[in-house]
Symmetry: C2
Subunit: 234 residues, 2 copies
Amino acid sequence: MTLDRSAAAPQTDPARAERILAAARELLLAWGYKRVTVDEIARRARIGKGTVYLHWKTKQLLFAELLRRELHEELGAFAAEITDDPAAALPGRVVREIFLQQTRNPVTRAIHAGDSEILGALAVTSAGRPVIRELGFHTLLARLVEVWRAHGLMAVTVPAADQIYTIDAVLTGFITGGLAVPGEDLGPDRRADLLGRTIKAALETSATPDEAALRAVARDVLAALGAARDVLVT
Amino acid sequence: MTLDRSAAAPQTDPARAERILAAARELLLAWGYKRVTVDEIARRARIGKGTVYLHWKTKQLLFAELLRRELHEELGAFAAEITDDPAAALPGRVVREIFLQQTRNPVTRAIHAGDSEILGALAVTSAGRPVIRELGFHTLLARLVEVWRAHGLMAVTVPAADQIYTIDAVLTGFITGGLAVPGEDLGPDRRADLLGRTIKAALETSATPDEAALRAVARDVLAALGAARDVLVT
DNA sequence: TGGATGACCAAATTTCAAATCTGGTCATCC
DNA sequence: GGATGACCAGATTTGAAATTTGGTCATCCA
């Protein structure tokens, strides 16, 4: 029994899908979700409007894939970093990195910040799949906490839910930017450092893992990241 | 040279001002800032609309005073608690308390959350005085950090600005509520505890102050609170 | 005579329907 | 049989009229 792709999705040129996504991305960054029209996307991709709908059932699903890819890429870069330096798998470092990436990438920034302008696409299940942000991010966070607890990096004497909530709240606070201190304005890197230190101090146990333990943690964190990435694959 | 009150503000019955404020408060909580009309306030206070303007120059200033009083009262309650238990002057406890009070009081909750619906009044200087939230809260926070650093409760090896920012960001995150964990929903008290622990772990030094030192801290924290309260007096 | 009042006004806000736009479809074309 | 764009219904925007509301002040008593 061969895989009958044409039944679900008729013959569609993958390269063309890329062109459409690229056009959508440009417009998204330039105008925000609401202002981008399918017409404009098609025009910029030099195809007919109807053709867009040969690739995606709705505008939302098109953008959902775009965002999914963006996250997928981010997670990949992050995984590479951990592979390179296992210490990056420690709680403080991970949260620090999430913050930095989400601060730098305008698309994912929109996701985390809940910018409904761009976010429209995400609040909805994509073809039966769970909402990206909610299930994706929280599942990942929950798994990471599980890993850290299993490796003795976080206290198991307190509920995991407390730790998850704390990370979530603190991360949100730093992303939201605090209430902006009147005087000086701390840069993203400085804020990222403060965030990392805060998470480390608040949640990491005093145990200092040796080289081998660190590698084991990195392995499990990478597995969690991998699982999260897989969810994001179309 | 006698104090000529009638020059600045003509004869006005203080008790009547209270009636007006009470009416305004009721309506504010019931309808939110925007929906409350001066007409309605006057009606509920059983006076003519013009009379309201004998007490306050604008609607905003009326509400500014209302909010100022609310904060004043809160700070007072907080000071009482510290007087009763000096340990309440420690960073974790203080932030915990700020969170709890702002969570419980609907009026001040609107202030911190930046609910522009109710907040309209606050974004503006009141009769030349600085904006309540911005200057008031941040000045207080800065002073508290100063006190804590002076007493060795916080590291002086890092910039105070970093500590202030961290407190601000973390507090904001917990108030914003984190991104609401899908499953269970932690109650306000539990969240307050987590917040307190986070601040304590992230910012308090390991030094455990003895009874005397604690009282000294409490004294200075009370002074800071007192100064903040004074700013709020009309 | 000076504090209290509410009719009054300009400016802001809301209404609401017409005009426009846009996501999605499908008959037609190549 | 894939690609297209005219087409449609529903959503959104527009704009002007209608209404509301913050603030004033001539008038009114106590």
